[in-house]
């Protein structure tokens, strides 16, 4: 038991994700069936309106944030990506464990709201003013804002970890043109998560401040904007759809070659299409706002991008179908689920294309037609590959085969049930049935369709039960699978089932994107094993490689099990729970405890047997991903500032003085100048001049601390002149500057911690830390520059 709580092994963490997300899937499924039972007939009273509101909100949140994302990235990604790229583990194993425990705690947090009768109840998108204090005075929305912020933390950490793992931990030879398509898909989804989640986080922070501290981000009377919520939410929300679906593409691109014994047609185009879908997905957010009355000159940008995001999706559909038609397809259960996925994806995609027409969207918005469309995509297209993937990799994870006939029965039940459940929603939506209503009157022609949908829901449930019953029975009684029952194309099929703790006995040889089909390379591996070559057997070692062409870069020592991830997650749980309870001082105690857990986490350094060959360490790329997420956060805040400024005739409004310019600009110059001694400190450390490095670091720290003290003093002076509750101008002014100052404070803590560590001498770990912290300060300088110039702009 203790081993599971403190594990940092990617396979165990993948399994923990799998079981936890199944629990949430069950909860979300029960909520869906309760709603379908309520809507089966007109004027039904199984559920009241209050309960119904909570159920459809929690159902949406659960299925998106606590089932599909963690099932694909958390379970499939964690278990499979290191195996597919020939790695020992993820790049940051303890962070990996932390992201799981935060994810699990955030789910418990959300459902605690349901248990306390205060579950989120304003829809998964929580539009304001519905979600504002005036219309939702309970603590329901706090469970939403804090629960999602908590969950976003886990997803961001996971995404950063995947990016660094895929860039830095590939087996030698796995250059970018040889990365399995599954990994491309997860890379795209991870970039999407990393850059989209900050927008949601900013939105959640604004709403929390509006509701709890009297800020005015979303109230037009005080300079705010209700549409601001939608812009920020959908800037996250639409890439989110692709984040859900792209891992499904990845699963499809693994199953199709295995069951047709043919490499994917147009490999480079499919790989790039996976990246393009997510990238263009960042330019379509306002197509969720076509009914808001925005100017058409604005909306055409989104209509254009929406129409073209179809192209990379179409490339993939064409490649999947062509590979199946030109290969030797064996329609076993995994491939059946993928065929079902393609059908659902095309159907849902076609109804999606219809929304490009702005007048059509305005007719069907908020009807069941929209519900039908996104369930075809999110259940039909995103979840079907998950079922297919469960069947496909079941033998690898358990070492046993599932029963094929029962598998096929489960497919047909789920396929038929899903169509029966969601297809009539198109019709009833065109007939005018609105979404989010807990009941409806008879005589409108809606009842028969609703009844069919409910029957479809229970047929789907039967199929899902057959699926899990089959897998559970097979786990105990299934025939032995052997290492490679499907003649699979990727590296995980080259090792025993289930995989050993160390994954690969030798660092694998790779010369194509389908390395398990390269018999020559596998024979080379066997010979190297017999000759004791290419083995990483000095503890828990990992080979790092260069980012683009995967040349060997260094051999690093990885952490074993650690108690600190779960301890830190517990501290964060306490922090978030106490924020809901409005016990801010006790919450601060948990924040401090979390900080201490972080110090303990990093206190003991791993025994150094690091062999540097070339290239930068993974830690630097890790810092790069963190900075990218922070830059996105600042971009959203700066965007908010100008969005609100466009709407307000007076900025700052009457009664609030213009910002002072001179002192902040001088201070800014001081902060930027401190980047120089930071860089010099790293250079000195690299040359082995420890005393000089410490001195320069101390000098930079003194300057930065002085900057921080002066800025805090100015901030307090401003608070005496006008309150954050005065106007939306004041709210964004204090939040933007406060965020910049918080980043400086974190930098001070990091530099101080490093200074203490350097007192004990210079190690490679400390050198990497110094390099990463120097980069952090450079980024903080740039971000603070942008934030400061933004808030000073009315006076410039």
């Amino acid at each position: 038991m203790l081993g599971w709580l403190t594990t940092t092994d990617h396979k165990r963490i993948g399994l923990l994700y799998f079981w936890a997300t199944l629990v949430f899937f069950g909860a979300g499924g029960v909520e869906a069936l309760l709603m379908r039972t309520q809507l089966a007939v007109a004027n039904n009273h199984v559920l009241g309106p209050k309960t119904y509101d909570e159920l459809f909100t929690v159902h949406g949140l659960t299925m998106i944030f606590w089932f599909i994302i963690p099932m694909t990235t958390g379970a499939f990604g964690n278990y499979l990506i290191p195996l597919m790229i020939g790695a020992r583990d993820m790049a940051f194993p303890r962070l990996n464990a932390l992201s799981f425990w935060i994810f699990a705690a955030s789910g418990i947090f959300l459902y605690a709201g349901l248990a306390f009768g205060a579950a989120p109840n304003a829809g998964w998108f929580d539009y304001v003013p519905l979600g504002s204090r005036a219309f939702d005075p309970g603590r329901n929305i706090e469970f939403y804002t804090l629960g999602l912020a908590f969950n976003s933390l886990a997803s961001t950490i996971t995404a950063a970890n995947f990016i660094v793992t895929i860039f830095k931990c590939r087996a030698p030879g796995m250059s970018f043109n040889r990365i399995p398509l599954f990994c491309f898909a997860f890379l795209a989804a991870s970039f999407g998560l990393l850059l989209a989640l900050p927008s949601l986080s900013v939105d959640l922070i604004f709403l929390y401040l509006d509701r709890n501290l009297g800020a005015w981000f979303f109230t037009p009377l005080h300079g705010g904007s209700t549409l601001l919520w939608q812009h920020l939410f959908w800037f996250f929300g639409h890439p989110e759809v692709y984040i859900l679906i792209v891992p499904a593409f990845g699963i499809a691109t693994e199953i199709i070659p295995a069951f047709t014994q043919r490499k994917m047609i147009a490999f480079p185009l499919v790989a790039i299409a996976e990246l393009l879908v997510v990238f263009i997905g960042f330019g379509v957010w306002a197509h969720h706002m076509f009914a808001d009355g925005l100017p058409t000159t604005t909306l055409v940008f989104f209509a254009g991008a929406t129409s073209m995001v179809v192209i990379p999706s179409t490339i993939q559909v064409w490649a999947w179908c062509s590979t199946i038609f030109t290969g030797l397809p064996r329609f076993k259960t995994p491939l059946l689920f993928i065929v079902g996925f393609i059908l659902f994806f095309v159907t849902g995609g076609l109804s999606g294309v219809m929304f490009i027409a702005i007048p059509f969207t305005q007719q069907v918005t908020d009807t069941y037609f929209v519900v039908a469309h996104f369930h075809y995509i999110i259940f039909g297209a995103a979840v079907f590959p998950i079922f297919g993937g469960m069947y496909y990799w079941f033998p690898k994870v358990t070492g046993r085969l599932y029963f094929e006939r029962a598998g096929q029965i489960s497919f047909w039940l789920i396929f038929a049930g899903t169509n029966l459940l969601f297809f009539p929603m198109h019709i009833v939506g065109l007939l005018g049935m609105p979404r989010r209503v807990y009941t409806y009157p008879g005589g409108l022609g809606w009842t028969v369709y609703n009844l069919l949908e409910t029957i479809g829901g229970f047929v789907t449930l039967a199929g899902i039960l057959v699926c899990f019953g089959n897998l559970a029975y097979s786990y105990f009684r299934g025939p032995r699978a052997g290492p490679d029952p499907w003649h699979g194309p990727t590296l995980e099929w080259s090792i025993p089932s289930p995989p050993p703790e160390f994954n690969f006995a030798v660092v694998p040889t790779v010369s194509s994107a389908y390395p398990n089909w390269d018999e020559g390379d596998r024979a080379v591996d066997r010979r190297r094993l017999e000759a004791d070559q290419g083995m990483l057997d000095h503890g828990h070692e990992q080979m790092e490689s260069t980012s683009v062409d995967a040349h060997p870069s260094r051999i690093t020592q990885m952490p074993h099990s650690s108690p600190w991830p779960i301890v830190l997650a517990l501290c964060l749980s306490g922090l978030f729970a106490l924020l809901v309870a409005e016990k801010y001082s006790v919450a601060a105690v948990f924040a401090v405890l979390g900080g201490l857990a972080l110090v303990a986490w990093h206190w003991r350094e791993l025994p150094a047997r690091e062999v540097p060959l070339r290239g930068q360490p993974a830690a630097l790329l890790g810092m790069g991903t963190f900075i990218a997420a922070e830059a996105a956060l600042f971009a959203m805040m700066v965007g908010t500032y100008f969005y609100l400024r466009f709407k307000n005739l007076h900025w700052p409004p009457p009664g609030i003085p213009e910002p002072k310019v001179l002192v902040p600009l001088v201070l800014l110059g001081v902060l930027l100048a401190s980047v120089v001694p930071m860089r010099s400190s790293y250079r000195a450390a690299r040359l082995g001049r420890l005393a000089r490095a410490r001195l320069l670091l101390l000098a930079a720290l003194v300057v930065q601390a002085g900057y921080f003290a002066m800025e805090v003093s100015l901030y307090r002076d401003d608070l005496h002149r006008f309150a954050p509750q005065a106007h939306a101008y004041a709210s964004i002014y204090y939040v933007l500057l406060g965020t910049a100052h918080a980043h400086v404070a974190v930098g001070l803590l990091l530099s101080g911690w490093l200074l203490v560590k350097l007192a004990g001498g210079l190690t490679r770990f400390r050198l990497h830390a110094l390099q990463a912290i120097a980069v952090y300060w450079a980024a903080v300088g740039v971000l603070t520059l942008i934030a400061t110039l933004t808030v000073l702009s009315p006076a410039l």
Binding site: S175, F176, N177, R178, F267, P268, L269, A271, I272, A273, L275, L276, F279, I280, F282, G283, A286, F290, D292, G293, L294, P295, T296, T297, T298, L299, V300, F301, A303, G304, A305, S307, M308, I311, P312, I315, I358, Q362, S511, S512, A513, V548, D549, A550, F642, Y643, R645, F646, K647, N648, L649, H650, W651
Partner: protein, 124 residues
């Protein structure tokens, strides 16, 4: 062409199209919002001029990126798709960039022409 030069062309071809599209997209949307909101609407933003400049500039950069991708693709002809880097990797990125840049070019032209020809601030 040297490997070093091909490498630069490969990254330009792969990254420039997407970068310029997203930049022009954000600036275009921002200008539209600025032109049509009550406060910033009084600033007298030359909307059509800004959009035409963005359209032309972005289209030119994407066209250059497409040319770079084609050059790399042609220079690496005869290289196996899954061959050893750097040539096979360059060909891989060039193939993707050729498709991606066409998509970006189409979006830029579609939206640029539509937003200039549409009546400014006409509510949807």
């Amino acid at each position: 062409m040297t490997i070093r030069r091909l490498e630069l062309l490969q990254w330009f071809g792969f990254l420039a199209g997407g970068t310029i599209w997203f930049t022009a997209f954000i600036l275009g949307v921002g200008t539209s919002e600025a032109a049509c909101n009550p406060a910033s609407g009084r600033w007298g933003i030359p909307y059509d001029t800004v959009q035409i400049v963005l359209l032309v500039l972005a289209a030119l950069v994407v066209a250059c990126a497409e040319i770079a991708a084609v050059l790399v693709y042609r220079s690496t002809s005869g290289t196996e798709e899954e061959g050893a880097p750097p040539r096979a990797r360059m060909r891989f990125f060039a193939a993707g960039a050729m498709a991606g840049n066409l998509v970006f070019f189409t979006i830029i032209v579609l939206t640029g022409v539509a937003t200039v020809s549409d009546r400014l601030c006409h509510q949807a």
